[in-house]
Amino acid sequence: MANQAVLGLYRTPEAAADAVGNLQQAGIGHNDYEIMTGVPYPEGTFGEPPVRHKLYVFPFMGAMIGLTLAILEGAGTQLAYPLVTGGKPILSVPPIIIISYELTLLGAIVFTVIGIIFESRLPRPALGVYDTRITEGLIGVVCTCPEERVEEVRGLLQRAAAIEVKVGQG
């Protein structure tokens, strides 16, 4: 049984917050609705629970990978091609520290970006139920629900002064 997505569009954040409140009262789980805005409102503006994410894992992972590569490069190339330059030791540590510093941070940055995209649930092949007016200031509340609850959800969303409610494939 396919899930349907219902989208309510609101002009003010208060109305959107009411819609979210309606959905919560009707017992719809936090994972089943999403609020779409064109503006970053502070977390919790609409009474939604705080976002949980594991983004902090990514930079550490990336840093470790970067550090490993850096030590391989910094120490490995010196040992693999042992030519004396300037009377410095064959395994000179300060250059390894510098290379490690750069590559560790590079790894951390690249993985953070991967993490952001992944945790933002992107890339998303199809937009689903969406309205281009969201980027013009409207606030969308989209709720994914089984087919039999569509009408109920539509009512809940409509009641909070929605200017339009759309239904589509979830």
């Binding site: 999403e34 609020i35 779409m36 805005t37 064109g38 503006v39 970053p40 409102y41 502070p42 977390e43 609409f46 939604e48 976002v51 994410h53 983004l55 902090y56 930079p59 490069e73 910094g74 190339t77 010196q78 693999a80 091609y81 030519l83 330059t85 300037g86 410095k88 000179s92 250059p95 390894i96 510098i98 290379i99 510093y101 750069e102 590559l103 941070l105 590079l106 951390a108 940055i109 690249v110 953070t112 970006v113 952001i116 995209i117 945790e119 933002s120 649930r121 992107l122 890339p123 998303r124 092949p125 199809a126 937009l127 689903g128 969406y130 281009t132 969201i134 980027t135 013009e136 200031g137």
Partner: protein, 457 residues
Amino acid sequence: MQDRRTLTDIQVNETLTNTVLKTPLLWYVILAFMGGIVMLGVVAVGLLVNMGQGLNGYNRPVMWAFFLTNMVFWIGISHAGVMLSAILRLAQAEFRRPATRAAEVLTVFALATAGLMPIVHLGRLWRAYWIFPYDFSRGIWPDVRSQAVWDPHAISTYLIGSSLFIFVALIPDLAVLRDRTTGIVHSIYTMLAMGWRGTVRQWRLQAIAGIILSALLLPVFVSVHSIVSWDFSMLVGVPSWHTTIFAPYFVIGAVHSGVAGVITVLVLMRWLFGWHDYIRREHIDSLARLLFVVALAWFFFFMLEFMFGLYHQEGTEMVVRELWLFHAPWNAIFVIFILTAFVIPVPLWLFRSVRRSFPLMFFTTILVNVGMWLERFLLIIPGLERKHPFTFSWGEYAPSIFEITIITATFALVATMILLFARAFPLIPLGDAKEARVLRDEIRIGRRTVQAVLREE
């Protein structure tokens, strides 16, 4: 004093995407002009490849000159981007909002240009890739003890990092463009926006991304210019370069010229694209205050560098300071440098009316960058001309027409790339401009209304 208007999201979208959707005619004119200069530079580089570095003004003691000076200069400019957007993001400063994207874009293009300079300066620039550790089959590696290997590591880390930084912050704006375009352009933006819908989760991650990436990019930004400075300061062969302060001195100098560069770009953007409601007097004012503090700090480091040059009381150092102060053309350059980088602009910034005037800020920041270019020139060349305690090998340097052309072309190149970027992507983050409106507040105390911002408790 608050010349702000409340704008709707539709207005924000329209004005800030006007570069993409309704390009001003002036844009084409400037692009054509800049592009022409870039082509001249390309021809000059082609001749260098074809005929050799002899075309330039280099000679035996002065093995590095205009190109490396210019590299240091552009790396300096590139430091503004992350300095502004990262530090101000972490400090949650409101005045960062219109400046972040422009600063980051300036970073990336200035850095790419800076990265070109040492390549153009190579004797065999078609072999530049040899500094990368790629040769697994023959087992011939670059020497990681060389600063010239640290440089590409640092520059590419910074370049990749700040490009990704821009991209992440660009995703919401790409979604706006996706919603407002049609046809083939629409499908390109659809692909780039990756299906962004602006859910609470996505916006939240944007905010966290800004913080984490800022925190990660700040150490990179410090390291890049430090490593560039070590190209000079670790050399015992040039006594006036060999000083421990170079790394922070270069970094603070970079911030000085970089923030000035961002203000210049902001003023130009405001003029070219008509963003009067976004780049406002108070933004320039706050940036100018920041610049004032940076300028003082830079001057402190400059004095340290100068004083400790005399500390040895050794001939090799003295002769370079003497060149700076008493011999043409260096004394003229020195005077111009001190006047333009510090003496003229910095006291002017004490006046509120100067800080809030776009033409005057444009003028003073251009002055700063003229001065800072000359500062790098002064740091690099006189030391080389007099590096040798044996007077037999002292020399002079004068740039050739090729060097001057290529240097001019790098300025045009950065301008061209920023213009092209502005044609495809908005230069002021739309989401940031809209968020400022949400977070704006006022507190009434008696008869007075104080501007306020909302912060999470």
